[in-house]
Every structure is written in C-alpha cells, then in structure tokens.
Symmetry: C2
Subunit: 226 residues, 2 copies
DNA sequence: CGTTGCATTGAAATCCCTCAAGCGAGGTGG
DNA sequence: CCACCTCGCTTGAGGGATTTCAATGCAACG
C-alpha cells in the first residue's frame, strides 16, 4: 500500500495579500463576492480537522479531497473541478483535506460571511442545501462503485465521469496522477495502469500520453460500466 | 455474487387509511405533524427512481437503503434506525430504495408539506441542510471504509457503529441479516461470518446467537479499526 | 418432525495486490 | 547539448485476501 506524497503547507499570508476580486456562485442568482487565490501544484488548501474558516470554489485547475487512515492509507473522496464548491461545512472543522493537483485558482469567502448572507434568506439557504445534496448523490454513487464494482468497471466509470464533467468530451486531459486515481477508485496504481492498457488493447480508448485519454468507443465503455 | 431477496411492494392504500398522528423531528424546535405508518419485515417503503412524494422518519424498527447494479449486485448505502430521516430529496425521484428490515413504524409527511414549512423559514431550511450534511459525513466515512479498509477493519467498524448508534451499548441486537451487513460493507456473507467467528475466537466479542453480539473488549476492537 | 431460511465452515479459485524491474519524459548541471 | 537523475508510469511474476462453490448446521415454525 503506497503512501501519499508529501504536500506543501499553504502560505496563509496569501490570504492577507492584496485581494483579487472574484465571486462564488452558489446557484442561480446567488453570487457572493470573494477573493481570488492561487495555489501551486501539491499545495494544501486546507487540512483535515483544521478550523473550517473559508469556503472555496474552483475557478481553474483541480483539487483532490482526501481522507487518511492512521497508517497512511488514503481515500480520495472527490476531485474538485472548475465550478465545484469545496469546504462548505456545518461543523467547525473540515472533514477532509484539500490539495491542489495542478496550479489552481480558487475563489475564497469567509464562512462567516457566507453564513451571514444566507441565514435570513431561505432561498439562499436552500441553494446551500441543494449543493450539499448534490455532493451526497455523488458520494453515494461512489459508494456503489467502491463496494460492488470490479476494477474494470471502476476505471471505465471514472473515464466516463471525467468525460461528462468536461462537457462529454471524447478527449480527456487528466490533471491527476495514477496514485490519485487509484486512491479515488480504491485500487492500486498498477491495477489502474494495467486496466487502461487493457482498454487500449481492446480499442475502447487510446493513450497518446499517460495524462491524455481518447475515448474511442464511448458506447462500448458505457456497456462495461454496469 | 448473491442477489437480493425479493421484497414485498408497499401497500399504498395504507397511506390513505385512517391516520395515526405522529410527528417528524427535523431538529431542535423543528417538529412537523406527520402520519404514523407501519411496515412489515421486508416490505418496501419506496423504490429507487420512484417519485419522491414522501419524507420519512424512523420511529421504531430499522430500514435499509439500497442501490443496485443491473445484474443484481447490491450496495446498502445506509441503515435507517430510530430518529433517522429517510427520503429527503432535492430532485423529484428517490435515489435509492428503502425497505423495512424488521417490522417498522415510520412517521410520514408529504414532501410538498415539508417544503412549504421550510421554504420561507431560513432557520428551518438550515436544519434540512444540517441533516443532509450529516448524511454526507456518514457516507464519506463509509467511502473510506469501502475503498481502503480490510475485511476485519470493516466488520469491527460496523460493530462499533452499531454500538455507538445504540447509546454505546456493549450488547448489540442486530436487526439485519448477514446479507445486509455484507452489502453494507462491500463483502460477502461468508467473509462476515468468518470474521465474526475469528473475533469470537480472539475473545473480542461473543455471539450468543447470530443476531446478538456482545462486545467483550471494546478497546481491542477500537484498536483493530484503523 | 420435516421444511424453510439463515448462518457457518471448508476447499478451491480468482481478482487484485505486492514486490521488483524497466521505461520514458522532463529537468538539471556539467 | 548531452549525460544523468528523478519521478511517474508500465509491465511481469508471484502471492494473498477475499470470493465462489458446496456442504453442513441450526433455529423457528407449521
């Protein structure tokens, strides 16, 4: 069981640096003023059990949300892609850590400011609920994958998900490493690699490079994902 | 891969039957009038992709929330125990089916009535969000279990969860079958059975009967659950 | 007291993991 | 500009945890 790569700590001073204007879009007609913030590849946005002071939205780049077991085994709970809201907690602490997979730009807002904006506005509060409910749905799908799907089904489901999240594109540009994918799918990097090779040999995909996947036969792929 | 047992369909007429008064408690000071409804063992409360017309709270008994793959593989997303809210959806359809594990009493409210009660009340809407967020946390924990824990760790985590949900009792009365547990933990009934036997041989638990577990050494168990 | 529905146990098989080696692209320094 | 290093990825061989298949056990119930 490989352990996770070390991750740089966030430079907290950045948050106090000259502010670049941005906004967080929680839903239709619900936009809040925010600050634009950049994170380098592998930089930590926040850590598990840290005080949940900020809420983020991905503007560009990609995040991974991870949880760990004591011995270093890691589960990637979700990937944060442009538009995704990250770190919206009910309690006072984050329940997972978030790290930039590539250089990433986020919109940041203080949680207290967000709470103030919605606490007397039922429609806005409903948007917050809708967001969390959508995350719940995603995670429930992932549970079915982790509990009952084969390695091949998991990898295919992952490729189709990445395609769908990129407007259904047939050419996928993966920001994350094999390790990230493995920890997302509950597999090892070797199994990910072998499965992709197998899909390539069956002409379902091609792999011009390790981070680029071409879905050559989406129908066949969809068939493989129970 | 064993397939799920057949399940009786709900007798929908029941909902129109003479109403027994009950209430649904969404949170501190947020209680809504509801109808009390009984379900027999293995009776379906609602089905996946059915129109999400009602929201339920378990009064007594137990539910299982399940999702299926096309070939019958099943994942139990959660167990519904007394107090749990079930079927609270944003969209128009349930995302999983719910069945009574044993004879169960539920409080039922029309979703439209619940929506009306909270749509202009930000504090009430927040309670709804808090509920969903709590479910998200549970499911995220389960993801880590399904993705990265061994069979022994899963079974131990399950026993400790059942204990915790029953006020930390050392004697657990399991309403669900080995099949339900297996589909919750992403294992097979045989592995559940063998693992419990192994725990019994190591004196961590005892099994007076298959549905009763005595946690004889909670500290040892906690140690086994990374 | 036979039937029925779980649960347990055993033996064999399998899917995925572990361990190990090799490859290739990108960066760095001589 | 090339040799070299590093890091991530791929591939192979072997092993192991869990599943599958099969038989037996056991308690509840008519």
């Amino acid at each position: 069981m490989q352990h996770a790569a070390t991750v740089q700590r966030t430079n907290r001073a950045e948050i106090a640096a000259p502010m670049a204007r941005a906004s967080i879009v929680l839903g239709r007609g619900l936009e809040l003023p925010a600050t634009r913030l950049n994170f380098a590849r592998n930089e930590e946005v926040f850590g598990e059990a840290e005080s949940a002071e900020y809420v983020y939205q991905v503007i560009s780049g990609a995040l991974r949300m991870t949880r760990f077991l004591a011995d270093g085994r890691r589960q990637v709970a979700a990937f944060g892609l442009p538009g995704d809201i990250v770190g919206l907690e009910v309690g006072d602490f984050y329940r997972y850590s978030a790290e930039a997979i590539v250089d990433t730009t986020l919109a940041v807002i203080k949680r207290s400011a967000l709470e103030r904006s919605v606490e007397h506005d039922a429609a806005a509060m409903r948007q917050v609920w809708v967001l969390t409910s959508g995350q719940l749905e995603d995670v429930q799908n992932q549970m079915l994958l982790l509990g009952r799907k084969t390695a091949m089904e998991r990898v295919v489901a992952f490729l189709l998900e990445m395609s769908r999240r990129n407007k259904g594109a047939h050419i996928i540009d993966l920001p994350m490493s094999r390790t990230d994918i493995a920890d997302y799918l509950g597999l090892t990097i070797e199994t990910i690699s072998r499965t992709l090779t197998q899909l390539q040999r069956s002409d379902a995909i091609s792999l011009p490079s390790s981070r680029h996947v071409v879905l050559r036969n989406k129908a066949a792929l969809a068939n493989m994902d129970s």
